[in-house]
């Protein structure tokens, strides 16, 4: 009967089919799933829904979960990952914690041992809901198949509304096999979850507008909330109306165009001198979709000490958590900005003086590197890549460490959701699988993982997924043979004592800090050979003159590709505000 829609279906279905059909009905196009004993029924169902739902097989569950994050972060839609019970489930844990800290809408579905084995220490049993309580927005252990349709509805609702976040659904194998007539219309049962009220009060918006009118040195501190709320346009309008300069968090990069005259670039530990100085000297700090993370603030008490602080965020628990706000607005930041844009006026004071102060800082302390360096500096490689791809739809993912911070500094992001970084948890190994997920969501876009050799090896197995699933991800590998950020701290704060930060064989002189020259003498492993082993393209480059053609070749290559770039290992990410310090401790040389 062609008139039957899903709401009137009365056929008996197995739990696994209900789950997969629910994914399809919620608009999921692709999921990343690694099978095992306790998730097999769900995988069988996935084959039945294959035309509507693509299943990508990662080579490690963590890779799958970061791929789902890549999908979610680049689209704003829910990323879905599935794993089996026990080790499959625990392999997801890092990526779930990562999604929690960066507010990524993620649904993780895990197989679980049959209900009668739960608590019996069965084969491949872990209490994954217990493990994940503190690192998920919400969690379900489904013990009755009749609850499943409602649970799926709730999971999508919770993952995507309010402050987005990860939801785990643990599915015992017998529940996957149980049959029932699903009640697709059963209402959600979430009496404690009321996000629909989070809109600004008119009175609060008036207060914010009044504070802006009185300000002489205002600064905007904007973050991931702008991107999550889809508020980039509203932010742009707000800045155009008020002329207030904008500093961005790592999560906020792309929320405001990098080349805009009011852009102050990145804030915080490795942010621009001018953004940190501006926050330090401002008299009004407008914090939008941010959480006053210690990597931005340094010492909480000293951060924006002289300023009146306006804090707009959807999560009430962020208000006054790390820093007291004078005016707080608990609201979706887009709704708040739209209301504000209706009434806001520029400050009465002439901001020209403030702009000149900032411009002088910009002129004196730009992001810079040694352009005469004989060889390829990391910053140069990123800068060159940025210029090369500027005309194309490009997404950049990164691992964690120096290459991540340099990418944040030297790659210019003009659009939201084009920069993907594990920012809160700082998970090495994020770059390659995240890029994979982006590519699955945007098949025609150029997706580049700018990675370090430490991070890359944490999920290097996903090259197989990239090749086998035809995801032509490019890896620009900044290979310095070291854990560069830790080396930087060793050199700055620990008299250069190398403590397990060299990634080559332990009998090499670099392992004990006795390396000669700027580059590690040998490069281990042979990343080009690894790439080729996975049937990906690969090349290595060490001369500066060869960089541009090598990058061009990478971009033009039809499949996944690894460009192994030899870079020095004692280059430091600057500026730097030491952990727990203040802007007055900033290191610029």
């Amino acid at each position: 009967m062609s008139t039957v829609n899903r709401n009137t279906q009365t056929q008996v279905m197995a739990g696994s089919d209900i789950l997969v059909k629910s994914l399809v009905d919620h608009g999921v196009e692709v999921l990343f799933a690694y099978p095992g004993g306790c998730s097999m029924p769900m995988h069988q169902s996935l084959t039945r829904y294959a035309p509507q739902l693509r299943t990508i097989l990662p080579r490690h569950e963590q890779g799958g979960a970061f791929a789902a994050q890549g999908y979610a972060r680049s689209t704003g839609r829910v990323g879905v990952v599935m794993a089996t019970s026990g080790p499959g489930a625990t392999n997801l844990v890092t990526a779930i914690a990562d999604a929690k800290l960066d507010s990524v809408p993620l649904i993780a579905i895990t197989g679980q041992v049959p209900t009668w084995y739960i608590g019996k220490d069965a084969f491949q049993e872990t209490p994954v809901v217990e493990v994940c309580r503190g690192i998920t927005k919400h969690h379900y252990l489904v013990t009755d198949v009749n609850d499943l349709a409602r649970v799926m509805k709730e999971a999508f609702h919770i993952a995507t509304t309010g402050r987005p976040g990860p939801v785990i659904i643990d599915m015992p194998k017998d529940v996957q096999n149980q049959q029932c007539v699903p009640n697709w219309d059963e209402p959600m049962n979430l009496p404690g979850y009321r996000v629909e009220y989070r809109r600004p009060q008119p009175e609060q918006i008036k207060q914010v507008a009044a504070a802006i009118k009185r300000a002489r040195r205002p600064v905007i501190y904007a973050g991931g909330g702008i991107i999550a709320a889809g508020a980039s346009g509203a932010l742009r309008e707000f800045v155009d109306k008020t002329g207030i300069p904008v500093g961005l968090t790592v999560m906020g990069l792309g929320a405001f165009p990098a080349g805009h005259p009011r852009a102050l670039d990145m804030l915080g530990m490795h942010g621009s001198v001018y953004s940190n100085f501006a926050v330090d000297e401002c008299d009004l700090l407008i914090a939008l979709g941010v959480r006053f993370d210690d990597r931005v603030t340094g010492k909480f008490e000293e951060f924006a000490k002289g300023a009146k602080i306006v804090h707009i965020d959807i999560d009430p628990s962020e208000i006054n958590k790390n820093k007291e706000a004078h005016i707080s607005v608990i609201s979706d930041v887009k709704a708040a900005l739209e209301e504000l844009n209706r009434i806001v006026e520029p400050p009465d004071a002439d901001l020209q003086e403030w702009y000149s102060t900032i411009d002088a800082w910009k002129a004196k302390y730009p992001f810079k590197y040694d352009t005469e360096f004989d060889g390829i500096l990391q910053q140069h490689a990123i800068h060159t890549l940025c210029n090369l791809v500027s005309g194309r739809e490009t997404y950049v993912t990164v691992g964690v460490g120096q290459h991540q911070m340099w990418s944040a500094q030297f790659f210019k992001f003009n659009k939201p959701r084009t920069w993907l970084s594990s920012s809160g948890l700082g998970t090495m190994g994020f770059g390659l699988p995240a890029a994979m997920g982006v590519q699955a969501a945007h098949p025609d876009a150029l997706v580049i993982d700018i990675d370090g050799d430490g991070s890359f090896q944490m999920n290097i197995q996903e090259l197989a997924t990239c090749f086998c699933e035809r995801l032509p991800v490019k890896v620009m590998l900044l290979n310095n043979q070291h854990l560069g950020m830790v080396v930087q701290w060793e050199d700055r704060f620990m008299q250069g004592n190398r403590a397990h930060t060299y990634l080559g064989p332990i009998d090499h002189p670099e392992a004990t800090g006795k390396g000669q020259g700027k580059f590690a003498q040998e490069r281990y492993p042979d990343f080009v050979q690894i790439a080729k082993g996975y049937k990906c393209g690969g090349a290595t480059v060490s001369r500066k003159a060869d960089l541009l053609p090598a990058l061009q070749e990478m971009i033009d290559y039809a499949g996944p590709y690894v460009l192994d770039v030899q870079v020095p290992y004692q280059e430091q990410v600057l500026p730097m505000i030491p952990s727990g310090g203040t802007v007055r401790d900033i290191i610029v040389e």
């Binding site: 809901v129 309580r133 979430l190 404690g192 628990s317 006054n320 007291e324």
Partner: protein
């Protein structure tokens, strides 16, 4: 900072794992709980958790918000910011060999409005309820006789009826004012009776 004793009351969904979630959150964020009591409410789908926490206003505000952020937590109220009734129930087994001391213990129990609920050959068990200070005082008085075993429920609390602005708390918690009246019988809410401990 003014570190104050606060009594928080959380209405939560009666589903598995809520207690673990809440206690895990409090522990992982470094909040110390003096007392925690859990039980069903008049609505079997909801449970009530009562916490006693010590902290300044900022800590309290964070605890409240972090609790409210948990999906299964329906509502959190700082009961101690209202006029409220608080109780703790204790069972204490005291060493009492037959003889003169039994009479003393019995007298003490009566003064504190407790009751003897079990008598053994060498021990008696006393039930007593009241505010924390009263329970504490009773423990000190009874200690010299020899406490064999002691168990407490943890504090529970309820806002006094006349303290409720009609439609405020009740409405917030999704409870009609009728239900509030039923759970707090008339008369019990007057200060004189409530504090006659």
């Amino acid at each position: 900072m003014n570190r104050m004793r606060h009594v928080l009351s959380a209405l939560v969904q009666n589903v598995p794992g809520v207690l673990a979630h809440i206690s895990g959150m409090l522990a992982s964020r470094g909040y110390n709980i003096d007392s925690l009591a859990v039980g069903e409410t008049e609505d079997p789908s909801l449970s009530r958790m009562t916490f006693v926490v010590v902290g300044d206003d900022r800590v309290l505000d964070q605890i409240r918000k972090q609790l409210e952020k948990i999906v299964t937590v329906v509502r959190v109220v700082d009961v101690s910011s209202h006029d409220y009734v608080e109780r703790d129930l204790m069972l204490v087994k005291v060493s009492a060999p037959p003889g003169g001391q039994r009479a003393e213990i019995r007298e003490l129990t009566e003064i504190f409005r407790g009751s003897i609920v079990d008598v053994g050959p060498d021990e008696i068990t006393i039930e007593i309820s009241g505010r924390e200070q009263k329970i504490q005082a009773f423990i000190e008085r009874i200690r010299p006789y020899g406490i064999v075993e002691l168990v407490r429920t943890g504090r529970i609390a309820m806002i006094r009826s006349h303290g409720i602005v009609p439609g405020s708390l009740g409405a917030e918690m999704g409870i009609t004012s009728d239900k509030v009246c039923i759970t707090v019988p008339h008369g019990a809410g007057t200060k004189g009776i409530g504090q006659a401990e």
